[in-house]
């Protein structure tokens, strides 16, 4: 009797492990959350395989992978995190492909009065708090800092910037009206629906091109399956899903 319970318990505990043994584990930038979930559902529906995600800021995921998290494929919201992992030989640079692009927007809480109408308005100190991603670990924050700097706004915003641990936290701060404005991706504003309003779009020239590079992690035990999913990400079907969620198409030639 006791033995039967032991066997049952062990099986119950091991069940999720067994079930996910075949799944490709993907660490993806949190801005991709809904789009990647849809892509994975289509991938599964076509009988191509299972994909499991962990979402976070690209810097957070980079740290986890560098410390040995069992991830097969990493999709970052900027080149920096991928390139650093490649330089550290943690990721295989020969597998790097750009799978999507995005744009940067200035958002304000829905119904906010005297909200900034363009980026330059942020220099007015009456906008007491402006949220951006934490610039060292959150790509949306990197791009935001570049855009603010190229517009000459970064110094005047000192002391008024609030950092989000990832771009969705920036979105949350704006939705809750805790900040007067925030800088997120165009796709985040779409996901938020009518809780935020897009006040302005950043000039793409004002920051590095927003690209989502994917790379296979060097010590992945499912390189073949990870490669298959990476191929699928570049397929027509996947691009269509990403486009539907507002992502722009990657440039035809992947950057090295």
């Amino acid at each position: 009797m006791a033995l039967r319970w032991l066997v049952l318990t062990v099986l119950t505990v091991l069940w999720p492990v067994a079930a996910s043994a075949e799944a490709v584990r993907v660490a993806a930038a949190i801005s991709l959350k809904e789009a990647m979930t849809d892509v994975a559902a289509a991938y599964k529906a076509e009988g191509k395989g299972e994909v499991e995600f962990t979402f976070g800021s690209s810097g957070q995921l980079q740290a986890q992978i560098e410390y040995g998290a069992p991830v097969d494929l990493f999709i970052s919201a900027a080149h920096k995190q991928v390139d650093e992992l490649v330089a550290a030989k943690v990721a295989d640079g020969s597998t790097k492909r750009v799978v999507a692009g995005n744009r940067l927007v200035l958002i304000v809480p829905a119904g906010a009065k005297s909200a900034p109408a363009r980026f330059a308005d942020l220099s007015d100190p009456k906008h007491r708090r402006v949220a951006v991603g934490e610039p060292k670990s959150v790509p949306a924050g990197q791009y935001a800092a570049q855009a603010l700097k190229s517009l000459g706004l970064l110094d005047s915003l000192k002391g008024r910037l609030v950092y989000g641990a990832n771009v969705r936290q920036v979105l949350d701060y704006v939705e809750r009206g805790e900040v007067d404005a925030g800088i997120v991706y165009a796709t985040d504003a779409i996901e938020s629906g009518d809780r935020v309003r897009v006040a302005a779009r950043a000039e793409p020239k004002a920051h590095d091109p927003i690209e989502y590079p994917a790379v296979i992690v060097s010590n992945s035990r499912r390189r073949k399956a990870a490669g298959d999913f990476l191929d699928y990400l570049q397929s027509e079907e996947a691009r269509e899903i990403l486009a539907r969620k507002g992502f722009t198409a990657p440039q035809t030639t992947p950057r090295e």
């Binding site: 810097g59 002391g159 910037l161 609030v162 950092y163 989000g164 809750r176 009206g177």
Partner: protein, 222 residues
Amino acid sequence: MTDLWPPLLLSLWVALLATALVAAVGVPLAYVMARRRFPGRSLLEALLMVPLVLPPTVVGYLIIVTLGARGWAGRWLYHFAHYSIMFRREGAVLAAAVVSLPMLYIPTRAAFAAVEKEMEDVATLMGAGRLATFWHVSLPLARRGIAAGLILAFARSIGEFGATAMVLGISSDPGRVTLPISIWVDYEQRNLAHATAAVVALTAVSLALIMAYNASSVSRQE
């Protein structure tokens, strides 16, 4: 890229203020709970102790939906005073206080319950009022339990991360980053040297506090 000192100082300040707040609220409540019976007593007791088992994310969430700019009470504060508890140091104090209240409440209530009722009755017979009895008899007799509770509450406050991180966020100002948050930020930015220094500092402070607690509870038994 955070220096060790500003976060350590902020954490100590937050813990000190949170412990003072917890003492002001928790000690009288513990006394009342140990001595009086009234309707709703068990619910109140459960409310005082539930932060012990609730994830700090629940505490953080409740603070934000209550006192945030669009919270049910906070929206009025925000409307009239343009005040929101988010990103503010007092938000960190409130988060730490809620989470550490049970740490003070439990030993303090036990200490008050252990004070012999006769001692209080004698004081009352000799003409002392309720407040005087509490102040001159019950409180001194329960002091060891209260001291143990204060140490635990302070230690818990210094270690608070989840609720504090939700309320305080990540500030660009190192004077608004607590020590546990700085460890998280340094980890994500892979500043291992900074993270390690903060981990060592926090572990040392916490160990010292637990040793102080152990010393106080050992001497109580002797």
